[in-house]
């Protein structure tokens, strides 16, 4: 039986843990709001971009003049997986679900005899993938200094990807991130960004005049389209991270509460047992006289 002092210490430590998890939950809730607002604010741009690109791309898809970013290299031998995870832990299964999806994809691609390269965004994914796939890493993007994800972050990542693509380092790039559905549900998602895929808006693109030219616009917009997709993914990921953290910390706070209750009952029982034992000793001592 644990002694009273141990129990008391234990209760004290769980209580302070609960305070911390509670505080983290509240911080995550505040950050989640901000992240959601940011994701919301980015939506009109991404939607318009997608619609216009969809129209342009479907008009040019079959032709020979389609830029490489859209048409691809004509092969799909080398795959680049961009795994976007959080910089911090303590957010439930957030990082693991992305990594699991990426692992599955790696296994599939390797089984098909493709070459896989990995670019990680966020420290946690890198740590988890390092064990099995350290050889596949080509680069890492560190966002730990970034407080608020801006379009600049997405743009520099997009520039990096496009440079690698132009240098022939890979044929297909896929990003892995968590799509934010609600505070309790984040859906790990794989999305191909290069060659660019746009949802067909179904808009008749032929109605428009293009300045300077259809090809010129497409060449100018494709890199922006890629950056926009990355930006959306980063924002979704940021919102998901905070959502996941909030849920995880809520659970932790509740568990700590349960634990304190259990420990307090045990503490009281132990104390009572000690008192009873002492009483019995006194009484039997008195009776023996």
């Amino acid at each position: 039986m644990p002694n009273l002092k141990d129990l008391k210490n234990r209760i004290g430590s769980v209580t302070s843990t609960r305070k911390i998890t509670k505080a983290m939950q509240m911080v995550a809730a505040a950050k989640l709001r901000r992240a959601q607002d940011a994701a919301e604010a980015a939506r009109p741009y991404a939607e318009r971009m997608n619609a216009v690109m969809g129209g342009l791309a479907s008009g040019l898809a079959g032709s020979d003049s389609a830029p490489r970013l859209l048409a691809g290299t004509g092969s799909d031998q080398v795959h680049l997986l961009v795994v976007m995870t959080a910089e911090r832990g303590l957010c439930g299964g957030f990082n693991s679900t992305i990594v699991r999806l990426a692992r599955q994809r790696i296994a599939e691609l390797t089984a098909q005899g493709k070459t896989v390269k990995i670019l990680t965004v966020g420290k946690k994914g890198r740590e988890q993938l390092k064990r099995d796939h350290a050889k596949l890493f080509v680069a890492h993007v560190d966002l730990s200094e970034v407080k608020r994800i801006g379009y600049d972050n997405a743009q520099s990542l997009a520039r990096d990807l496009i440079q690698r693509f132009d240098a022939g380092e890979f044929d297909v790039a896929t990003i892995f991130f968590n799509r934010f559905q609600s505070v309790i549900a984040q859906v790990p998602t794989a999305q191909q960004v290069i060659p660019a895929v746009f949802e067909d808006a179904g808009e008749a693109s032929a109605l428009y005049d293009y300045e300077p030219s259809e090809e010129g616009i497409l060449a100018d917009l494709l890199p922006r389209g890629v950056a926009t997709q990355l930006f959306t993914a980063l924002l979704e990921n940021a919102a998901s991270e905070q959502g996941a953290r909030m849920t995880a910390m809520d659970n932790a706070t509740r568990n700590a509460g349960d634990m304190i209750e259990r420990l307090t009952i045990e503490y009281n029982r132990t104390r009572q047992a000690a008192i009873t034992k002492e009483l019995i000793e006194i009484i039997s001592g008195a009776e023996a006289l």
Partner: protein, 133 residues
């Protein structure tokens, strides 16, 4: 003929303006253009410059925009700018940073993209002049 049209100016980070406009002056890549209601549908890329929108009440607002594109359709005009801010809010340091960034890119640009990248730098410098900062 309708005398106003819907105008939206969005950047990746937020929606900067959404109003009924009489005319919109857009710094297109091939030259400035003014869009008024019932303009023929057109999509153009932007160069760094100043975009001016005249609202229904005749008041005009200016925004400094860097690259992006404008879509003028039957329903109105929407401008998707990579970076956009109200012209009055642009400080010298912001524009200096943009110019430096553009110059860095021009220096790195491969030969066939050199002209385009240098044009961006020149446009940025013109933008600085136009803003008077």
């Amino acid at each position: 003929m309708a005398d106003t049209m819907q105008f939206d100016l969005v950047s990746p980070e937020k929606r900067l303006a959404s109003l009924a406009a009489r005319e919109v002056r857009i710094p297109g890549a091939d030259g400035d253009m003014t869009a008024m209601p019932d303009h023929a549908p057109v999509i153009t890329t932007l160069r760094p410059g100043i975009l001016t929108v005249v609202g229904a009440d005749g008041a005009s607002q200016s925004f400094a925009v860097t690259g992006g594109f404008a879509e003028i359709g039957t329903g109105g005009a929407s401008v998707l700018a990579e970076k956009a801010m109200p012209a009055g809010d642009v400080s010298a340091s912001v524009i200096e940073a943009l110019i430096a960034d553009a110059q860095a890119q021009a220096a790195e640009a491969p030969a066939e993209a050199k002209d385009a990248a240098e044009k961006v730098v020149a446009d940025m410098q013109a933008l600085r002049g136009a803003l008077g900062v």
